[in-house]
Homo-oligomer: 344 residues x 2
DNA sequence: CTGTTAGCGCGTTCAT
DNA sequence: ATGAACGCGCTAACAG
């Protein structure tokens, strides 16, 4: 150990197998036109010398470029802005490696818009990373992309039935359970009602979070009641009105905001003067939610790391195109919990 | 956008500046022997064409290998085993890029052992990632390595005064505060005593965690008292005895294990029959602490991602050696909070 | 001071 | 079915 292993090159293999470079190359890359006898000679040589192709040299000689496309929701919640920014940074990071990223925007509340966009993509890109929707037409569009040979990953929200390489995002039911446990434990036996706000229950991730949340509260916190879910379209103003209405009931002891629009929730809470008293949990760490955590308005924030997700999606696409391996540990997207004290 | 940018090569720059490849190379890499006039011509050409060196080609032609060394604590707590395993995986990942990693083990409770080891390293390695100790001799050894031109990062525990490239790890005072807030909120007003177990208060990270913890409890949870810290040397058996003793007092309502040895703590808690009742927070997500979380013995586990830390340290060393940029967002080590519901 | 040239390890035509 | 030779973009030795 500690000795620098002399690099085994294609030439070493060729010499060992008593053939030329080109033949070894054909053998390795499974191209036709190699006698089975020489093939096994080459394989033997590779095994004997423990040859591993040099990825750097491979990349240089292949001299190929990649086009990727990231499809994000239009309409700019803070989290989406974070995502875009991370796509920009990732694009900068990949450019020297000749992978170029386009960003496309789509209305995430409209399945047909997303499906049309996907359908129009054709073979223009080597890989596509997209927020998805659990909708037949979207699924079909993703499948078609896949069958065109385009690498597809779903990002942040999934279309489970589609033939994507991978879903890069969190388990939203588990995220909902996490919110439930945090609210339940922070309330610690205090009885009352927990108000729920979602963007839209038609969004799979929102309904999954709600499911997980209700499951935990129902099973483990009998003193708490979950109010019917209000839909605020991820909009600050609508959310503010909703929370204002909720707070008219004195029974409200907790609020779980399933989607975006935390500024609206926080505004209503502050205006009511009960912000410190009511346990409020929401999603996605942004400049705003950080502030709410620090001020004690928000008690916990459940987060998925936008940068990690974007980089992971990019790595998955790259690895697929270069057919390289990836490190599974690195691609596991965590359900982060942030409180006032562990804000990175 | 979307058009594949034609790659600008050194040759383009050379042509534009009306000099040879070699001269451009000298100019770019700041090597001596270039007339200031030609130098500015080259710089102008680079700016005009917006030339960026191709890192892949650079790597191939330089054809250099790197030797790195990771120094980990001997004595195998579960977390240290996780670290070793991640070093192994990272080594596998870097080998194709011709960076080779040795792992050395050292007794982390003995500053002189660590210092001697570091002092003996000389220029054998291009980079060293090491668990550190805030000790004069260790600091001096690290500084000497640095002045020998070796890239140094501290891993998991820091020597703040040393001339290291970076500390790859978490803010332990913040981690302690996080533990404090979690215990305080989970207890929600229940009065009593919180028991503290550390490996050794001579370890900087342990005393920082204790500090943050006591700060939060003292300032915000007046119903709680922090018991004097017991030292268990990160050992399961010692910790078990300590907790058994603690539990003889009926006032104990919470336990914060600052260091390793969670199996001992959990065993004593279970044996007492009060595991569900006492709020127990510890560090580092391992196979064991996962189990304790699922069973409700442990209420929260504060974690630093071993894989992330090792990869980050490796990236920092590589980037330094190749003098490439790194993405700051990717190197930020989070203070993870895990509860039963968000176990990845 | 500056230019020429031979690699780095592999992919990819062309010949044979 | 196999081999020779050039190119990818850059570095480094050696000339001039």
């Amino acid at each position: 150990m500690g000795i620098v292993a002399e690099r085994v090159t294609l030439e070493d293999v060729a010499r060992e197998a008593r053939v030329s470079l080109a033949t070894v190359d054909r053998a390795i890359n499974g191209r036709p036109g190699v006698h089975s006898r020489t093939l096994s000679r080459v394989e033997a040589a590779i095994a004997k010398l423990n040859y591993r192709p040099d990825p750097v040299a491979t990349r240089l000689s292949r001299n190929q470029a990649f086009q990727f496309c990231f499809i994000l929701p239009v309409g700019g919640t803070s989290f989406v802005e974070l995502l875009s920014e991370q796509v920009r940074l990732t694009a900068e990071w990949l450019a020297p490696q000749r992978a170029y990223i386009d960003t496309l925007l789509v209305d995430v509340f409209d399945p047909d818009a997303l499906a049309s966009l996907l359908e129009g993509l054709g073979k223009r890109y080597h890989g596509v990373a997209t927020v998805a929707l659990d909708h037949p037409r979207v699924r079909a569009a993703l499948d078609e992309l896949a069958s065109l040979g385009v690498a597809v990953v779903t990002l942040v929200s999934d279309a489970p039935a589609a033939r994507r390489l991978r879903y890069v995002g969190i388990d939203n039911a588990a995220a909902g359970r996490t919110a439930g446990t945090l609210i339940g434990r922070f309330l610690a036996g205090r009885p009352g009602v927990v108000g729920l706000i979602a963007g839209s229950m038609a969004l799979r991730d929102h309904s999954e979070r709600r499911f997980g949340f209700a499951q935990v509260i129902g099973a483990e916190y009998p003193a708490l009641t979950v109010a019917p879910t209000e839909e605020g379209r991820d909009d600050d103003r609508q959310n503010e009105a909703i929370v204002r209405r909720m707070l008219q009931s004195p029974d409200i002891v907790g609020i779980y905001n399933i989607g975006a629009g935390n500024r609206g929730v926080a505004a209503a809470l502050e205006a009511s003067g009960r912000a410190q008293d009511i346990v409020y949990v929401g999603h996605e760490l942004t400049a705003h939610t950080r502030r709410f955590l620090v001020r004690g308005i928000m008690d916990a924030c459940i987060n998925q790391d936008a940068g990690h997700e974007v980089r992971s999606a990019a790595r998955v696409l790259m690895a697929h195109c270069l057919n390289e391996q990836l490190m599974p540990d690195q691609e596991r997207i965590r359900i982060d919990i942030f409180i006032r004290d562990n804000l990175s």
